[in-house]
C-alpha cells in the first residue's frame, strides 16, 4: 500500500487553478523532491496534503486513510510536517520543542511518559543535536534550528514526513547534512517529500520528483528522468547549458 496517495487534487485561490488534477503516490522508502518556479504551488501542495489548507477537491490518503475529515490528533500520528517558517518569540529549549512533537500521543494535560522521553531522545540522536537539548531554540544557528524542528517531526513517529523548503537559508554544510538525514530516514522506511529550491540538492538521494510547470501543469516520475537538464531547463525557463542546472 502506498504511504501517501494523491488522486485528482485540484485547488485554486479563487482564480485560475493552481493545482489541477494532480495524482501521484509515494511508497515507504520513497524520497520525493518538489521543484518548480516560485508561486507555482509547491508549498500550497504540502498544506493541501495535510489539510491545513482546505478547499481542495480530490483525495489524499495516508496509509490508506483519507485525510479529509481527519482530526488533527489522528493526522499527527500518520504524518509530520516541517514548515518553512518556525519563528516563535518564546525561548523553548530544544528538548521542550522536540517533546511537543509528542502532543498527539501524550494527550493534553498529563506529563510526558517514559516512551515520550525516549522518542525525543531518539529524535535528538538521529538529527545529531543531542548536545543542544538544553539550549533555547532562539539561540541556535539557522541550520541547528532546522534540525531541531526536524527532530520535533521525528518525535511524532510517523510514516510520512513533509518538509517545506528545509534547506533555504542554510549553508552548504547544513544543506548536505539535512539531505543526508532525510535520505537515512527513507532507508528505514519513511516516505519523505521535500520542497527544494535547487535542483542540484535533489541529486542527494531523491528517487522521485514532482515538477511544477506553473499554470496547474505538473509532471511526476523517477528522479533520473525528471531531473534531466532538458526537463529542468523547460520548467525554470533557463537554457539547458546553464551552470545552475546540475548534470
Amino acid at each position: 500500500m502506498p504511504a501517501l496517495k494523491v488522486e485528482g487534487l485540484t485547488f485554486s485561490y479563487g482564480g485560475a487553478p493552481l493545482i489541477s488534477g494532480m495524482s501521484f503516490a509515494l511508497l515507504p522508502g520513497d524520497f520525493m523532491c518538489v521543484l518548480g518556479p516560485n508561486g507555482s504551488g509547491k508549498s500550497t501542495l504540502l498544506r493541501l496534503i495535510t489539510g491545513f489548507q482546505g478547499g481542495a477537491s480530490g483525495s489524499v490518503r495516508i496509509g490508506g486513510q483519507e485525510v479529509k475529515g481527519l482530526d488533527p490528533d489522528r493526522l499527527a500520528r500518520l504524518l509530520a510536517y516541517v514548515p518553512s517558517e518556525t519563528f516563535t518569540p518564546y525561548d523553548f529549549s530544544v528538548r521542550e520543542a522536540v517533546l511537543l512533537g509528542r502532543t498527539a500521543r501524550a494527550g493534553l494535560w498529563r506529563g510526558y511518559s517514559a516512551a515520550d522521553q525516549e522518542a525525543a531522545d531518539r529524535a535528538l540522536e538521529e538529527t545529531g543535536i543531542a548536545r543542544l537539548a538544553g539550549r533555547s531554540i532562539n539561540t541556535l544557528s539557522t541550520g541547528e534550528r532546522q534540525l531541531a524542528f526536524i527532530a520535533q517531526a521525528l518525535a511524532q513517529e510517523t510514516g510520512v514526513l513533509l518538509l517545506d523548503e528545509p534547506t533555504s537559508h542554510l549553508d552548504l554544510r547544513y544543506k548536505a547534512a539535512v539531505l543526508d538525514l532525510l535520505k537515512r530516514l527513507t532507508v528505514r522506511g519513511m516516505a519523505v517529500a521535500a520542497v527544494l529550491h535547487e535542483p542540484a540538492l535533489a541529486r542527494l538521494g531523491c528517487n522521485k520528483a514532482l515538477l511544477f510547470r506553473g499554470g496547474g501543469g505538473y509532471s511526476f516520475g523517477s528522479a533520473a528522468e525528471m531531473l534531466s537538464p532538458g526537463a529542468l531547463a523547460a520548467v525554470y525557463g533557463i537554457p539547458p547549458e546553464s551552470p545552475l542546472i546540475p548534470r
Partner: protein, 311 residues
C-alpha cells in the same frame, strides 16, 4: 528551574500581601486592616490573578508577546458592557451583569482578532493596531455615556479609571471563582497552549485544532478578564507585564507559566495598589494609573526589543 526560583513567586506574593495590608494613611488598627484593607487586598489579588492569567493565555494562543486584555480591547469591551449595565440599573452581583461583561469582552476580542486578520497575515503589529482601534472607539463610547449620565458618573469615573475601592463580597467571591475555574481549565490544556505558541500551522501539524483552541483560550481569557473588570474596572498592563517577568523564572512552558502568571499578577497588582495608596498619601492614586505609569514604559521596551529581534 531551580528550587530558589520556585520560591521567589510565593515570596513576592506574601510580601505584596503584607505591604497591601499594612500600607495606607490610616495606620495599623485591627479594624482598618480587617474591614478595609483585607477586602481590598483580596480584590487586588483576584483582579491581578485574572489579568495575569488572561495575559499568559492571549500571549500563548496568539503567539504574540505584545498581547494582553488591555491592548486587545478585551478590557475596553468588558468596561463598556459594565458601564451600560450600571446605566441600565443591572445589579453588580447578578449573573446578568457578569454575562453582559463577558459578552462585551469576548465580542471585542474577536473583533480585534478579525480586523487584524483582514490585514492579511496575522502579525504582532496588526493585532496591536486593531486592538487600539477597537479600544479607542469603546473608550469614547464610555466617555460619552459618562458625560450624558453626569449625575451618576462619579463612581463610574473611578470604575473606568481602574480602582479597587468598593469590593462587594458577592462580586469578590463570584470573580474569584470564575478566575480559578478559568485558570484550572486552561492549565489542563497546557500542552495545546504550548503548541499554539509555536504558531497555528505548527499546532495543527502537532495534532491540535487551532480554531478550537483559539476559541477555548479566548473564552478562558475573556472570562478571567471580565471577572477582573467586574471587580476592579479597567486596569492595564498587568496582563502584559506579568508573563514576561514570570517567563524569566519558569521558562516559556504553559504548564508552569499559567499558574505562575496568575500568582505573579496577583502579587504585582497588590503591590501596585499598596503603592497607589501610600506614595502620595493622603491622596490616593488608582491602581490602574499606577500600573499604566509602570506598564507603558515596559510596553515601549517590549516594542523596541521586538523590533530589534527582527532585524
Amino acid at each position: 528551574m531551580t528550587k530558589g526560583k520556585y520560591l521567589l513567586l510565593p515570596a513576592a506574593l506574601a510580601a505584596a500581601c503584607l505591604l497591601s495590608l499594612a500600607a495606607g494613611p490610616a495606620g495599623l488598627s485591627p479594624e482598618i486592616i480587617w474591614n478595609l484593607r483585607l477586602p481590598r487586598t483580596l480584590a487586588a489579588l483576584a483582579v491581578g490573578a485574572g489579568l495575569g492569567l488572561a495575559g499568559a493565555l492571549f500571549q500563548g494562543v496568539l503567539k504574540n508577546p505584545l498581547s494582553d486584555p488591555y491592548i486587545l480591547g478585551t478590557s475596553a469591551g468588558a468596561t463598556a458592557a459594565a458601564v451600560l449595565c450600571f446605566i441600565a440599573g443591572v445589579d453588580r452581583d447578578s449573573p446578568l451583569f457578569f454575562l453582559a461583561v463577558f459578552t462585551g469582552a469576548f465580542g471585542d476580542t474577536f473583533l480585534s482578532y478579525w480586523l487584524a486578520r483582514l490585514a492579511g497575515r496575522l502579525s504582532d503589529a496588526s493585532l496591536v493596531l486593531a486592538g487600539v482601534a477597537v479600544s479607542a472607539f469603546l473608550t469614547a463610547l464610555v466617555m460619552l455615556t459618562l458625560t450624558a449620565a453626569r449625575e451618576r458618573s462619579f463612581s463610574l469615573f473611578y470604575f473606568v479609571l481602574g480602582g479597587l475601592y468598593m469590593a462587594r463580597p458577592g462580586v469578590l467571591i463570584a470573580s474569584g471563582v470564575i478566575i480559578a475555574v478559568c485558570g484550572g481549565l486552561a492549565l489542563v490544556r497546557w500542552r495545546a497552549l504550548d503548541a499554539m505558541s509555536l504558531g497555528a500551522q505548527s499546532a495543527y501539524h502537532l495534532g491540535v485544532s487551532p480554531e478550537k483552541e483559539r476559541i477555548l483560550f479566548f473564552v478562558f481569557a475573556c472570562a478571567a478578564t471580565s471577572a477582573a473588570v467586574a471587580l476592579g474596572g479597567t486596569i492595564g498592563f498587568v496582563g502584559l507585564m506579568t508573563p514576561h517577568i514570570v517567563r524569566l523564572l519558569t521558562g516559556p512552558s504553559s504548564r508552569t507559566l499559567v499558574p505562575a502568571s496568575a500568582i505573579g499578577g496577583a502579587a504585582l497588582l497588590a503591590a501596585a495598589d499598596a503603592a497607589g495608596r501610600s506614595l502620595f498619601a493622603p491622596a490616593e492614586i488608582p491602581a490602574g494609573v499606577v500600573m499604566a505609569l509602570a506598564g507603558a514604559p515596559f510596553f515601549m521596551w517590549l516594542l523596541w526589543r521586538s523590533a530589534r529581534g527582527r532585524t
